[in-house]
Amino acid sequence: MLPAFGFALEAPWWVEVVVKSLVLLFIVVTTFAYSMLAERKILGWMQLRPGPNRVGPWGLLQPAADAAKMLLKEDLTPQTADTFIYRLAPFISLIAAMGVYAVIPFSESGNGLWSIGDVNAGILFVFALTSIGVYGISLAGWSSGSKYPLLGSVRSTAQMISYELAMTMSVVGVLILAGTTSLAGIVHAQNRLWFVIPQLGGFAIYLITAVAETNRTPFDLVEAETELVGGFHTEYSGLRFGLFFIAEYLNMITVSCIATLLFLGGWNAPFGLTVIPGIVWFVLKAGLFIFAYIWLRATLPRLRYDRLMAFGWKILLPAATLNLMLTAAVVAVTG
């Protein structure tokens, strides 16, 4: 049933699901386009320049112009490439990045949750799909048959799996407090108190690992231009490059949404301001994280690779374990 039409329109369930999926995908891709524009604008302002301002008013049509350019660019495949895997890799990255949105609940109203499906293993589903995204990067670099992409992809795979470990450990504290792995369940458990307060350590570790997982500054060793040209996507051009680009941004938005759901109470309104609908709060909170990402990029220089790996294994992993054991101890004693 589609209640939005004002009268009860009976449609088969799969039509409803397909329409919902298309609408959500459209929203997600539009969000990607405008967060990209926002990034370029904000970076511009932080560096005292105007940022894109030629295409449309305030540069608002820039994403459309970029998309048109990507569509019309020649699609090159290097002779040395393993053609099938070379073409498959951007797919894997993109589908893994988009698929996560199936389980993210954006808000809740009288009709129920605003999500495609609230699976009970929500957080596991998210981690599973983001891990699959790593295959896209490592296969892309390997199949290009070129040196820089190979170096970049092996490096970034090592980086991503190392930080993924600390990330999975950092959210265990939240699971102890919430007692469920369902994303909606975790939000409901925060009705009284957002988990950012009892889980401040886990929150900090999650944020740091999330930046590393999405390969953004200061952890963007994947595309360290000065040493690796463009990293794993050096050989890609046209829309195939665009798919990696979309996937990277979607991952950034995903980790912002997950941080909102796990630590900032999802769509719960702060200070009892329930007049403003939950979806607005969700977007505001997730937007805060996205802004923080852009801010980081404008502020911090890139880390050295050995320090990056040492930081992940020697500091973040033990810190996350300590955090979860402390949380468990408190819960065990106080109940």
Binding site: W14, L72, T80, R87, I95, S162, V172, T181, Y305, A332
Partner: protein, 117 residues
């Protein structure tokens, strides 16, 4: 309805969208390949050797360590969800588990497994 059904439908729609993203430029974009263009990029210099060379064994070590510690992380999840029911017993058992793990972790640290040189 099982929530995994709409999730699978969404994944299917995402797959079709990604396919569309990949086929449309093939119809629109020009294609004029030439031997220089389809060479692997090496800053304009002709590639001197093939890519299948030696590789630092460090990366292999990291991959193995990841498998070990990730399996361990996976075993934390069911325990964490049931923590309120397990109470102090669950905590004590987990302390033993983490202690055993800590010995392995300290060994790897001592042997320079996390040292990048």
């Amino acid at each position: 309805m099982d929530p995994y059904v709409p999730v699978s439908v969404f994944l299917g729609v995402a797959l079709v969208a990604a396919l569309a993203f990949c086929t449309v430029p093939g119809l629109l974009a020009q294609r004029r390949p030439n031997p220089t263009k389809s060479e692997a990029y090496e800053c304009g210099v002709e590639p001197t050797s093939s890519v299948g060379g030696r590789f630092p064994v460090r990366f292999y070590l990291i991959a193995m360590l990841f498998v070990i510690f990730d399996v361990e992380a996976a075993s934390f999840y069911p325990w964490a969800v049931q923590m309120r029911a397990l109470r102090v017993n669950g905590l004590l058992e987990m302390i033993v588990f983490v202690a055993v793990l800590g010995i392995g972790y300290a060994y790897v640290w001592r042997k320079g497994g996390f040292q990048w040189r």
